[in-house]
Symmetry: C2
Subunit: 249 residues, 2 copies
């Protein structure tokens, strides 16, 4: 099976790396950014082009969500299977006359950061069972966690990730505002933050809950509210405590 990878960003880089490590050959890496393409090409010995898209059985498109339609329209091969790698874009966003699919790795990628690919879940979507099998087999060579997920299911995966990652990061940012205001280095909280995250590897998060809200410690809750002078943090404080109370009481 001839595979062409389209894109030169964080996801494309890590897919090139993961495929290479799994000894799956990539015939070409295609994109606009010649500098980035050349780097990936050299690092993983994959031919690249910014001009002529090679013929392939499978095209994997790892570009920004908003470019998927435009980039996918470049593929004129009606016998090809085409996959994008986005969590929040429909399979039908692919624009062209070919078999459409999704090959979505659930992770946040940076080029400089090494990752254990075997742990990254891949969510697959395709038009028919045969294409599902092709993509499942491919993903299984990289990762131990491969699962089917149609557009509908992927919406919920994305929503879960917003709660567990985007919102969590925002709480870190708001927490840092509080510690900064008192001249306490935020780094001091990292061991506690790490431990909180490690804990849920062993314990269901619902059972790992601690803090003033779950023990209905009204005295501490009122004290904290009096310390929060800005509206946004106070709103977060009240909303999350109310939600904790509703979950347990």
């Amino acid at each position: 099976m001839q595979i062409v990878l389209i894109g030169s960003g964080n996801v494309a880089f890590h897919l090139a790396k993961a495929f290479t490590e799994a000894q799956i050959p990539i015939s070409q890496i295609f994109g606009r950014n010649t500098t980035e393409l050349q780097k990936i090409s050299e690092q993983f010995s994959i031919p690249f082009s910014a001009k002529t898209l090679a013929e392939a059985d499978l095209y994997i498109i790892s570009v920004s969500d908003s470019s998927i339609a435009e980039v996918s329209a470049l593929i004129k091969n009606e016998n090809a299977l085409v996959a994008h790698t986005s969590g929040s874009v429909s399979r039908e966003a692919l624009s062209g006359n070919y078999r459409k699919s999704v090959f979505y790795p659930l992770q946040t990628f940076s080029k400089s950061k090494n990752l254990d690919y075997s742990k990254i879940p891949f969510f697959i979507d395709a038009e028919n069972e045969n294409d599902e099998e092709i993509l499942k087999n491919l993903a299984s060579k990289i990762s131990k966690n491969v699962m089917l997920a149609n557009d509908e299911k992927r919406k919920y995966i994305h929503l879960t990730a917003v709660f567990a990652c985007n919102f969590v990061n925002h709480l870190y940012a708001r927490a840092k505002e509080i510690s900064d205001s008192q001249g306490i280095p935020f780094d001091y909280f990292l061991p506690l933050i790490d431990e909180t995250t490690q804990k849920i590897h062993e314990l269901e998060p619902k059972l790992a809950q601690t803090g003033p809200a779950i023990r209905n410690d009204e005295k501490v809750l009122k004290l904290h509210e009096s310390l929060l002078t800005d509206e946004e943090k106070l709103k977060i404080y009240k909303t999350l405590n109310e939600s904790i109370k509703k979950m347990y009481h």
Copy 2:
């Protein structure tokens, strides 16, 4: 300096372990729960008693917040320095005629979980500089992060920890409700969760923010709101997105 440790819970256990590893002798471990005392006593070769509190220069009280007043009243030695280890209780909660202080390790402790003590921040509070020095020296033998923090400052440390840990854990619990509803194993999100937490070791959380709210993706935000059928999660979703928008726009 003769040190007596009071309590046999998670914090007391880890202090006994940390002191032993740092070759700081503890003269006695004192408490009510003979079974737990005996275990700690055997593991770290520390004499224990549930009846007679030994004479000491320093008493460290690691019991539940609500028991600090009662337990500390047992100490009749007016020449002693007495410290509790709680983040959310005032130094003045210690009830007795002796020098009062706080020796607060910022971490969540479980007996079964090994910890790198050198990274755990210790926050010290005492009545005078001499006592501050005694406790700072002691903590420095265990940890690289030792800092003074009076009652006022400790309130903010606790508040920061509520945002960065208690609330984060609750978001994990709410996220799991969403993935459970779709039959997606929550374990699939752990690599992404780990990476989100690891990222802030290298990048300020404010700069690490991603997701639909920071890129003002109203289409995705509206879609997610339509997926959230229960009131609590919808309220969290709106409150946190609003706060993200306010922080960046």
